[in-house]
Symmetry: D2
Subunit: 139 residues, 4 copies
């Protein structure tokens, strides 16, 4: 119960920069990959449809704290928890580790939105998904 979702990854060459380490912006791509992998595991996609049309998950706020750099070829793990579950929003919490040592941690706040022609409109997180995400809530 409340076991995190685990995502495993290797650093690809394009992820690095001239400082010889993974560029700090790339950690957000890693977070998103882990989130999408989680959603697939839960039978959802980041681009979903229901009877009223398509909906998706625009991001409203993100952060990342860096502890130790990642280098080309290194393997690492991303664990995903749900830090907060609102009516329309999910706050994912990510912990990056390499061989069990802390690398970075961060959060992404995504809001479930109806995609119409204009501005995205927040809608409630679909209950079947909300139920599954509650299983990932940090105790």
């Amino acid at each position: 119960m409340s076991q995190p979702f685990l995502h495993h990854r290797r650093v690809e060459f394009r992820d690095t920069d001239a400082a010889g380490i993974v560029h700090f912006s790339v950690f957000f791509n890693y977070m998103e990959e882990a989130e999408h992998s989680l959603l697939r595991t839960l039978g959802m996609s980041v681009l979903s449809h229901d009877d009223e049309g398509p909906f998706s998950w625009p991001r409203v706020s993100v952060w990342c704290d860096y502890r130790s750099p990642l280098r080309f070829g290194e393997e690492f793990d991303v664990s995903v928890h749900v830090a907060r579950l609102g009516r329309s929003s999910v706050t994912y919490a990510f912990h990056f580790t390499r061989d069990g040592n802390a690398v970075a941690e961060g959060e992404v706040v995504a809001v479930c939105c109806r995609l119409s022609d204009g501005r995205p409109q927040p809608i409630p997180v679909p209950e079947p998904l909300a139920e599954k995400l509650r299983g990932l809530l940090i105790p």
Copy 2:
């Protein structure tokens, strides 16, 4: 006549990799930026509309030869010619130089396509644009 279009750029940090130089894939982003800058100058956008709907320029073939690396912070020039102009296709030729010295050269073949729900359908290059592109043809 047949003067190339010129695009000036500086290497940003995210363009580099752990070898300390601009990643080879990034040169294609630079080519596309130069192409889009050219289209804007000609009063076009890469995503255009006419009476029958939207059309765009999917790429069917690209290449790049590398002579000398680019490093973080360096400024360089991209010159754009039109190497070939077909009924539906444009072959852009790009030369990268830094302080007048050859850095790389490459080509992008883009095909003017009607965007429908299914597969993009080639359409003739709109004549007003074709006329302008002929002015960039390599003699």
Copy 3:
């Protein structure tokens, strides 16, 4: 006094994603571009040298809040302030606007570090730079 540094940019095609907007991770590249442009204006580079060797600015913490999406081809402004100036760290604050309307805001905490073979070691921000950065402090 305490006027922000201004950076102007256009959205390039590679900055976008399949949602039709600038990918959320790319805002951190924009922040870094603005920071580097500021450092150049101050006569510094992100990779500098002094008598004791090279030093640079690893990032220890970043965040971004998103208000309104950016789309391909749009032009926008990034204003840069210094939110906090520590002995070794600088917290840059960024505000993104398009035609004066809020798009996003964020911060990057960079730590001035001696680059040795091992782990980067924090060193004091060089006084000539610190003096210039104080001029960008939020009142």
Copy 4:
């Protein structure tokens, strides 16, 4: 004999652009990932060392032809052959397929180079690696 090396991949969201498909430049990152995966399988790294110091594989020429777009979440295969093996150079040939259907094909010419302080100097492909690469030569 002469079986290609196979690399399997899923399209991540950051790989896409506002046209809703994988950006054409990203195929070169996929090729490089497949090449690096092959080198790891052969017990090599793209950044290697021998008695005389480090050596690596700068790219001198690349191309890609595109047949059919890839979209977010799709899985695809990259097969890797060696098209030509020179004294210092390796030409890798890549075929992208999705469910057995052609997506794209391309080549990367990499040159084995001694990394010194100055310009990279071509050196012979180490014989143990050359022997393994000959097993991937297109008949």
